[in-house]
Symmetry: C2
Subunit: 437 residues, 2 copies
């Protein structure tokens, strides 16, 4: 059988990796797919030809992206440009031309996925995006296909490698945030503008996608609560450890009677959980289904080859499904388009979690009573308190509270009142806490 | 669209779970699959009707299994009887009748899979067996589909929950093997005849399947080396811990220039590896692909609902693929049937690993020199030695060696010579060791 002809947009990190993988493992891939998968055309503004193994096998490389998208011989377009412009226009044009799409573009799917999938459905083509979430970890396929018997109750993922690298170094080596961030930038893990990683936007893009395929709701990035790790201090990592917890930057999607929670924030989790032991740049997603219980998926969440692994797996899937009736393909968001439900996504105020609170208090009698009264008045039960010895010459001491689960609104009120107390120095540090049971 | 009609063979633990899951989550499943999946007929010799939710929705329950297999309305037969007889005959008859198969029967696939897949290919039907390996963990789909871009280098799995429960209890609570085994039997984790679990036969069935789909080789259970955990002593678990290792009962498949290794045995692995922290009855499989690097899949490896989760996921997949051309379906053993390669499976003698050796020696000068000479003469380098103080009143001491990698044949020779030394008491305990890097 003739090889499938692929048009590739973008020859950067992931694009170059995809070219190399399709070339290096061509035999292995064809033995599985039953036919070859060949990039016939590629488009890129600029690229490093010497760095890409197998580039010579591409028939034509152009800087005109639309030439690839409009080529009648191409059956599948792989979009690895990233960003919104011109990626959105190119993807929509390719769909209009009846081509299937494979993309690693999490921002594009999170922001414009509903529009893209609807256009694809109309044209009877498929858009595959395994590489958009957690790089080489096959989490999209796991949730969409392997857990099809389950009502997904929640999922929690370490889905940004840079953030996990920073938190791991802070814990293992006692380093502070800024110091590790600089190293991550010099190692190439973090971009010079690290906002997307550090402030959780990248993770929120991925969580938006995971939440949709888990619960069968439309993509709605704007409703995902996003909080970064830049305010995590070394001492919080240490105190969490003393209490038997680790701080991880998690993307959490949770479904309850009240609605759906979609939130990215630093989270204390028990150190005995497997996911608490996922270190460095590695990613992992823990998914709780009502039937299967907890399952976890671990691997490299970024990088040229791991992401290319997911792109090529999608290419094999799409190649197999070329002749399938569109209605028998796996639906884009796991559920049939007419079976999506627009379940309410809760505002963070309405979310219920446990909390880690750290505050600097003046070391004098009666202070703890004032604080615990404020907490108690708002129904906040205390699970544990640690009071740290004051540093030599200082009269302020650190007090750490672990609370039981309470609605965020009540905690907001309590913290605002606590911060007004005379005996409190500075702001209260608040980190949400999940047992992941 | 009309619901797909399923014929179910077996209403035991997994069969009952499958009935309940299809009933309880019918809406969720249909929202994903685009149509209902309904068990119209079931066959079982005996079953506990009160224990199975949703049983009343089955049109007809019979004790005549062939009536289900021969029913012309049934499109997919789910075989959950287990064992070889009459499962093999039923599956082959169902295939002959043009029905697709879903099975959780690892023994059947490991022993008769080549014959079954060949019959299925001839009839243009598919045989799905996600539930046969590691229960609810979607490892078959991950390896067959998600890692299609990769040359799989090796995989290592905790694929028997009973064994992992026993080793976990021995480590965490200092209990001995027999004691924990009895508890596992009373908890229902282990069968009264625990040979399949404890001696690694169950794990070898699963490893045989994993090795085939990883490397594209025919199923060959008889070439899988199998060693159980019944000879692991409490003290070995303790000494391994002191050295920074944990003992896990692993199924390992490894491909090198020399051939393929397929082996199930107790293994020392560094405690810092994620898979070393998989405890209790949980399963996990670590897979190393050349492109994606290491990925890990974790979850419940057995039990009614987790296994049913995999059975139902297969039912959704098969339902979607009912109208697919057979050549565009995912091949049974991941590679196209004509692309399977009968790569040599190495005899355990030719396998190369590192070793943990424990021996009781008489505490007198020159003994270590004798032992290290025997090792050195066979090219075995020593990585670490610990000598334990003799117990009060005893003159024998425990000496533990960690060696570097060496061919098993050399180690066999060395151990046989060491055991002949006058200064050695009893047998040498030998546990293989893998870094899983």
């Amino acid at each position: 059988m003739q090889a499938v002809k692929i048009g590739l947009l973008g020859l950067g990190t992931v694009g170059g990796g995809t070219v190399s993988v399709l070339s290096n493992n061509a035999e292995e891939i064809a033995r599985r797919a039953g036919r070859g998968i060949r990039i016939s055309h590629a488009a890129a503004k600029e690229y490093n030809a010497d760095a890409i193994e197998g580039l010579e096998q591409i028939e034509e490389i152009t800087d005109d992206t639309f030439r690839v998208v409009d080529d009648p011989d191409i059956e599948i377009v792989v979009e690895l440009i990233g960003g919104y412009t011109p990626a959105l226009e190119l993807v929509l044009k390719a769909i209009e031309n009846g081509k299937h799409i494979v993309t690693a573009n999490k921002a594009l799917i999170a922001m414009h996925g509903n529009q893209i999938f609807s256009a694809a459905q109309e044209k009877g083509v498929t858009v595959a995006f395994e590489a958009a979430v957690a790089g080489g970890i096959p989490i999209i396929k796991a949730v969409r296909e392997s857990l099809a018997a389950n009502q997904i109750e929640w999922l929690a993922g370490i889905i940004n490698g840079t953030g996990n690298f920073i938190l791991t170094e802070m814990r293992e080596k006692g380093r502070n945030f800024e110091d590790v961030l600089k190293e991550a930038q010099s190692l190439g893990y973090a971009e010079a503008d690290s906002t997307f990683d550090i402030e959780g936007i990248d993770a929120a893009h991925k969580l938006t996608i995971l939440g949709s395929i888990a619960f069968g709701i439309p993509l709605q990035f704007d409703k995902t609560y996003t909080e970064g790790i830049s305010r995590i201090e070394q001492q919080d990592v240490v105190y969490a450890g003393e209490l038997g917890y680790r701080i991880k930057h998690l993307g959490i999607a949770h479904k309850s009677d009240k609605g759906i929670e979609m939130r990215v924030h630093p989270t204390l989790i028990p150190e005995s959980r497997l996911i608490a032991n996922v270190n460095g740049v590695m990613n992992a997603i823990l998914v709780k289904g009502d039937v299967v219980g907890p399952t976890l998926y671990y691997g490299a969440g970024a990088g040229s080859y791991p992401t290319a692994s997911a792109v090529v797996a999608d290419l094999v899937d799409v190649t197999r499904a070329l002749t399938t009736d569109p209605e028998n393909r796996v639906p884009h968001l796991a559920f049939q388009p007419d079976a999506l439900v627009d379940t309410n996504v809760l505002n963070i105020e309405k979310v219920e979690t446990a909390y880690y609170l750290r505050m600097q208090v003046i070391d004098r009698p009666g202070v703890l009573a004032l604080i615990t009264k404020i907490l108690g008045d708002r129904g906040i039960s205390i699970e544990a308190i640690i009071q740290k010895e004051p540093a030599p010459g200082l009269s302020n001491v650190h007090v750490i509270f672990l609370t039981q689960r309470i609605q965020e609104k009540n905690m907001d009120e309590a913290i605002s009142l606590i911060e007004k107390l005379n005996c409190i120095h500075g702001n209260v540090t608040r980190i949400r806490m999940e047992m992941l049971e």
